[in-house]
Symmetry: C2
Subunit: 664 residues, 2 copies
C-alpha cells in the first residue's frame, strides 16, 4: 500500500447480498446512498459520492452531507439506461481543519497565530500547485501570499473568505483519501420496467374462433383493443413450433385428436421453420418470421411493446434433441429422460441438463436465442419457471443480453419459495411475479405489501401483479363473480406500479376445472371461441384504472404505499403519494365481493403535513364524485355490485378567492 487507509466507510445502504448485487432503479429516478463515515482524531471530514457508467473513465461527483452520529447521505440522478457504478471517497480535510483551528483559537482569545497563518499559507500554496494549469492557481497563490502577512484579526475572517473556501474545497488535498471498494452498482432500467400494464393473449386466439387459430397478421385488432384499455405491454405465450410427439389434447389430455393445436410450451418441431424448428422459429400456423416482425413494428408504432415468453422447454421433436443429445438427461439405456415430478410425468417435454459436459455451448446457445429476438425488436421477456434452472445461468445470461441491449427487461415467473424468488430478483430479473394472486384478506395484503415496500426488498424486487395467468384462475375469481374481478383489478393496478392481466379477465371468465385453480377448456390446449366484447365485460373499468394510473404520478411510485386504519376488516385502506406530496391518493377497497361494507377510516393527515383541522377536497377518480372532508375520521360505504372501490384524489383546500376554490 502506498498510503494507509485513513477513513472508515461502512454500512452503506441500500445494500444486499453483502454489496455484490446491483440496486434497481429506472431512468429519471434518483439514488440516495447513506453510509457511516468517520476517522480517528478531530479533523473535519468531507465525503463525496461518485458515480459513472460501468467501467467508465470519468467519475461524476456530489458532496455527501452529515446526518449526525457519523451517518452521511448523498443523492445522484440516473440519466442513462444500463449499469452505473458508484462509490464514496472521503478524507480528512486539511484546509477546513486548519480553518476550524484558527476559529477556535481566536474565539478562545488566543491572538498569537503567526504559526497558524504560515501553516495556512502552506496549505493554500499546496492547493495552488494542485490547481496548476487552471486560472485558479494564480488566485490561490495570491491568497497564500496574503495569508503570510495577515494579522490574527485579519486571519479570523480571511480563513472564511468565500472565494478561498470555494477554491480550497474544489482543489482539496485528497492524497490521503479513502475510496470504498468494491464499487457498488445500480441497474438503471427503462421507465417501462417500473411502470407498465401488461396484457397477455395467445396470438392464435386473437379473433376468438372456435375451430381454427388466428395468425400474427390477425392480431392488430386485439392489440388496439388492449391499447384502448390502456395497456402498454403485449405478452405472448411461446410462438415457436409445437412438438408432435406425445402432443397433449384438450384439457391436458394424453390423447391428442387430429387437428388439435398442441401446447405452445412444448417447444420445437424439427419439421417446421427455416431455422431448425426450435426457439429461433415461429410456428408456421401463426405465419412467418417476417409476419412477426411486421407485427412488432406495427405494435411499436402504436407505442406498445411485445413481450415474448422465454420457456426453456424442449419437445421430443426439438432440433436440440438430435443436434445436442448431450444437453439432455439420459436413462442408463441411453434414451433421453422426459420431465417428471413423481408420480406426475410430462412426456411431451425433455428438460435440459445445465450441468452437462458441454454446458458452455448450451448456455451460449440460449443467450443467442435471446439476442436473436432482441435483434427482431423484442427486448421484453417473460421467463417461464426460472427457478428450475441454475441461478448462475440467469445471472450470466441477463448480464450478457443487457450488455448488448441495456433496455432489455426480464420478468421472472418463479412461483416458488420466497428466498429463491428474491434471489432471482437480486441477481438480475427486472420484475417478478408475486404471491399477490393468493393474497386476499386485509391482513394478508397488508403484511405482504408492507414487506415488499418497507424493507430492503424494495431496492431489488419489482412486483408485477398478475390477476390471473393461463395456469392460475384463483378461487377468489371463481367464486366472487364480476365484483371479484373489479376488486382484484383495483388492487393490482394500485398496489404496485406494474401489473398485468391474462386475456379473458376483462370478460370475467371464471369457469375452472372443479376443485382446481385451472381454467376449464384452457386455450393452452385448444382453440377457444370468444366474444371480446361480451356483455358484462369490465373493459371500461380497466380503461378508467389505466387512465388514473397515467394521470396520477402517485401511482407511479412504488415504495410510498402506506396502509391506514379503518374499522372494518373487509375494507382495505391505503395511500399512495409522490415524494413531494403534490399528488396524493387515498384508496379504499371493499374486499368482500358479496356485501356492502362500511366503516370509519382514519385519513393520515400527519403523513401529508396537514393539520387536524385542515379542510380538503376528495374526488373519486372512478365515479367523478366530489366530497368535502375535514379531520381525519370519515365514513365510507361501498357496494361491490356497483363499484367496489374509491380512488380518492385529495387536495388541501386553501380558501375561496374571487369566487374560486384554491387548493394546495
Amino acid at each position: 500500500m502506498n498510503n494507509p487507509v485513513s477513513v472508515v466507510i461502512r454500512n452503506l445502504t441500500p445494500t444486499f447480498n453483502e454489496g455484490r448485487a446491483a440496486v434497481k432503479r429506472s431512468i429519471g429516478q434518483d439514488l440516495t446512498v447513506e453510509a457511516d463515515i468517520f476517522r480517528e482524531g478531530h479533523d473535519i471530514i468531507r465525503a463525496s459520492l461518485k458515480w459513472r457508467r460501468l467501467h467508465g473513465q470519468v467519475w461524476n461527483e456530489t458532496a455527501m452531507m452529515p446526518l449526525g452520529n457519523d451517518r452521511w447521505r448523498g443523492t445522484f440522478p440516473l440519466l442513462q439506461i444500463g449499469i452505473c457504478e458508484y462509490t464514496i471517497e472521503a478524507w480528512g480535510d486539511e484546509f477546513l481543519s486548519w480553518q476550524e483551528e484558527v476559529q477556535k483559537k481566536f474565539d478562545a482569545g488566543l491572538y498569537e497565530l503567526t504559526n497558524e497563518a504560515l501553516e495556512g499559507a502552506q496549505i493554500i500554496e499546496a492547493g495552488a500547485r494542485r490547481a496548476s494549469g487552471s486560472p485558479d492557481a494564480e488566485i490561490l497563490t495570491k491568497l497564500a501570499r496574503r495569508a503570510q502577512t495577515v494579522s490574527a484579526h485579519e486571519l479570523r475572517s480571511f480563513c472564511e473568505d468565500p472565494e478561498l473556501v470555494a477554491l480550497m474545497s474544489y482543489w482539496a488535498n485528497r492524497e490521503l483519501s479513502t475510496t470504498l471498494h468494491p464499487f457498488r452498482k445500480v441497474r438503471v432500467d427503462p421507465r417501462r420496467a417500473s411502470f407498465s400494464a401488461w396484457y397477455e393473449f395467445f396470438p392464435r386466439s386473437a379473433e376468438g374462433k372456435a375451430d381454427s387459430g388466428s395468425k400474427f397478421r390477425d392480431c392488430l385488432n386485439r392489440i388496439e383493443d388492449a391499447k384502448a384499455m390502456g395497456f402498454d405491454v403485449i405478452y405472448f405465450p411461446p410462438i415457436h413450433p409445437i412438438g408432435e410427439t406425445n402432443r397433449k389434447g384438450r384439457n391436458n389430455s394424453l390423447k391428442c385428436e387430429p387437428g388439435e393445436p398442441g401446447v405452445p410450451y412444448a417447444i420445437g418441431n424439427f419439421r417446421q421453420g427455416k431455422n431448425g424448428g426450435g426457439h429461433r422459429d415461429v410456428a408456421p400456423e401463426l405465419g412467418t418470421l417476417e409476419d412477426f416482425e411486421w407485427l412488432v413494428k406495427e405494435t411499436r408504432r402504436r407505442h406498445l411493446e411485445i413481450a415474448l415468453d422465454f420457456a426453456i422447454n424442449c419437445s421430443p421433436d426439438h432440433p436440440y434433441v438430435h443436434e445436442h443429445p448431450e444437453w439432455f438427461f439420459k436413462h442408463p439405456d441411453g434414451s433421453i429422460k422426459y420431465a417428471e415430478n413423481p408420480p406426475k410425468k410430462y412426456e411431451d417435454v425433455y428438460p435440459l441438463n445445465f450441468y452437462n459436459k458441454n454446458w458452455k455451448a448450451l448456455w451460449e446457445e440460449l443467450s443467442d436465442v435471446l439476442l436473436f429476438w432482441c435483434a427482431r425488436g423484442v427486448t421484453i421477456f417473460r421467463v417461464d419457471n426460472p427457478h428450475t434452472k441454475p441461478v448462475a445461468f440467469w445471472e450470466w445470461v441477463i448480464a450478457k443480453v443487457q450488455t448488448a441491449y441495456p433496455e432489455a427487461i426480464f420478468l421472472s415467473e418463479a412461483f416458488t419459495r420466497p428466498k429463491m424468488m428474491h434471489e432471482l430478483a437480486k441477481i438480475g430479473f427486472t420484475q417478478s411475479y408475486t404471491y399477490f394472486t393468493w393474497r386476499n384478506t386485509k391482513q394478508e395484503l397488508t403484511d405482504y405489501f408492507t414487506e415488499l415496500t418497507q424493507t430492503e426488498v424494495k431496492d431489488y424486487f419489482r412486483p408485477n401483479l398478475f390477476t390471473n395467468t393461463p395456469d392460475i384462475l384463483p378461487e377468489f375469481l371463481q367464486q366472487g363473480g364480476r365484483p371479484a374481478f373489479l376488486i382484484r383489478a383495483v388492487l393490482a393496478a394500485t398496489l404496485s406500479t406494474t401489473y398485468g392481466i391474462y386475456s379473458g379477465f376483462e370478460l370475467c371468465e371464471n369457469i375452472a376445472i372443479p376443485g382446481k385453480e385451472e381454467y376449464l377448456d384452457s386455450e393452452k390446449y385448444q382453440f377457444k371461441a370468444r366474444d371480446w366484447n361480451a356483455p358484462k365485460n369490465i373493459k371500461k373499468f380497466l380503461t378508467s384504472l389505466n387512465r388514473i394510473r397515467h394521470e396520477n404520478r402517485a401511482l407511479q411510485f412504488f415504495e410510498t404505499l402506506r396502509f391506514h386504519p379503518i374499522d372494518n376488516d373487509r375494507i382495505l385502506f391505503y395511500s399512495k403519494a409522490t415524494p413531494c406530496k403534490e399528488n396524493i391518493l387515498l384508496i379504499v377497497v371493499n374486499l368482500d365481493p358479496f356485501q356492502t361494507q362500511s366503516g370509519y377510516l382514519q385519513v393520515p393527515l400527519k403523513n401529508f403535513g396537514w393539520l387536524e383541522n385542515n379542510a380538503y377536497e376528495v374526488e373519486d377518480l372512478l365515479s367523478g364524485e366530489h366530497f368535502f372532508w375535514s379531520g381525519s375520521q370519515n365514513y365510507v360505504s361501498i357496494d361491490p355490485l356497483t363499484r367496489p372501490a374509491h380512488i380518492f384524489r385529495v387536495r388541501r383546500w386553501l380558501g375561496r378567492k374571487k369566487g374560486l376554490d384554491h387548493y394546495a
Copy 2:
C-alpha cells in the same frame, strides 16, 4: 469457470462489515452458523459446515441441518486459540435425490423401476470409484451389482439400506458443489478474554507512601491482595521513563516542583534506560527491566497476568524526537507541534503523525514495541485512546502481534462516538471500554445492555466494565457514598463477564475536583498516601462477588443476560443463565444508594422452562439466606446501607425424598 455455481448460499450469520471482519469467541465455546441455502429444481440438498486454522490444509466438517424456509444451521467447537476460518459447502445430492425418486414412484404404485435400478447402480458405482483405495470401495461395488438385479419391491428397501446410505453420504458426489467465498473468520481468544476481573494500580503507589514511590520489587503485596479479592488481571498504567520537559505538577499544574514524579503518560526520557529511554524501557525509579520481568514471573506463578498500558504518547524527551523527527507534526518554522485541542494545550506531549512520509517505519517500530513486551511475558495490553490513531493501524498491528502471540489481548480505551467504538472492536480489539460508567438509571442500563447482548454487537464487542479509572470518578460515586460503590460493583461484576476497578475503588475514594469527574490529588501527578485496609473498605464484598462469579457458570456467559419486570423504577432486575439452564441467577439491584426500595418482581419462569406452579429454592449468594418461592410474582425489599443487591441462585424443587429436598 470449470463448473457453474449450482447452489446459492446467502445471508450467513453471524456477519458484520459485509463478512470481512472476524467473529469473536473464546476457547471452548462453539460457533453456530446459519445461512440461506437453496438451488433450482427439486434435488435434495446437503450442506456441510467446514472449518480449519487460518490457511490450514485440512478442513474439518460437520453436517448442517435445515430449519425450514431454506435456512440451515451448523455448529462447530473452537478448540485452539488463534484465527479459525470457516465456510459452507453445499450440493444437490445425487444419491438422496435418486432415493427420493424411487420412494415416491414406488409409493405412488409405479412398479416398473428397471431404469431407476440401473441408474442407482451407476450412482453407486461412481461412489465406489470415489472410494477407491478404501475398504468402502469393495462394499459399494457389491451394492452396485445388487442394485442391477433387484426387483422393484426390493429396490424400495434397498435404497434405504443403512450401510448404503452411510457410505453414499460419506462418498457423496461433490463435483458440482458450491463453496462460500470469501471464507469467514472467527477469532478464538483465550478464556481470560471473555471472563476476567481487572485490578488497576500504579506501581509507584503499591505501598501507599505519601512522599516517595514504590518499586516493582514492592508490588507483590498489592498483587496478592488483589488475588485475595479474586482479581486475575493486574493492569499497570505506563511504566516507562517520564519526560522532564514541561513536566506537569500535582493536580495537572503547569508548574512542576522539584521531586515531583510526573505523569506516566508523558512517555520518554532519552537520559534514562538502556534501550533509549522510550517505550522499551522502564522508569528507573520503578527498578530495572529485570525487576519487571521478575514481577511478571511472580505474578504468573500466582495465576494472575500483568497487563500493560500501550499509550502512543511521546514527551518532548522521547528518543523518537531526535531519532525520527519526521514522525511528528511540524510548525512551518520546523519545530515540532505539541498536542492541542483548542483552546487546550498539552505541552508535555508530542503527537505522532501516522501518515508521515516514513510511516511504515513508525508502524513497524510500534509493533516491535508490543512484541518486545510480549517476549517479556506481557500479552495483555490496555490501549490508550486508540480512536486518535488510524483504525487501519490497529487492524494491522493487532493482527501482526496475534500472529506471533495468538493469546494476546487488546483492550480498547476508546471513550468516543459509538460507531468508532464498534469499528475498533470489529477490526481486532479483544475487549472494549464502554459507556457503562455513565449509565445509572434502570432505563439507561436496560437499553444499553440490551443493545450489547441482544444485537449483532454481541459477536464482536466484549464490554470490560470499569467502575472507575484514573481519569473518571463518576458523579454517582462522588455522591452516593459507600452504597454507590457496592451498587456499581455488583452491576459491573454481573452485567458483563469482564470488569475492572481502578484501585482506591475498594476504599470508596470519592473526593473529586469540584464540578468535575476527576480525582482531586490524583496519583497521576503525585505520590499518594493510602491505607489499603482503611476502615469501611469494600474488599470483602468484592471478594464475595468474584467468588460468586467463579462458582456460577451463569456469570461466565454474556449474551444470556435478560431484563425482567419489577414495579419499581429504582430497582433493576435481571437474570443470567447457562445455555442449558443448569445454573440460573436472578439479580436484583437497588439503584438508589440512599433509600430502601421494594417491589414485586416477575420471575421469568417460562424462560427457564418451568411451570407457573413450580416451587423453587432461592438462595442469596451474597448473604447465604434461603427462601422458598412459588409462582412468578414475589416481593423484595432492599436497604442499600446493608447490602444493595440480591444475587439469587434459583433451583426448581423436585420434592422431598428420605427427608432430603431434591432440586433440578
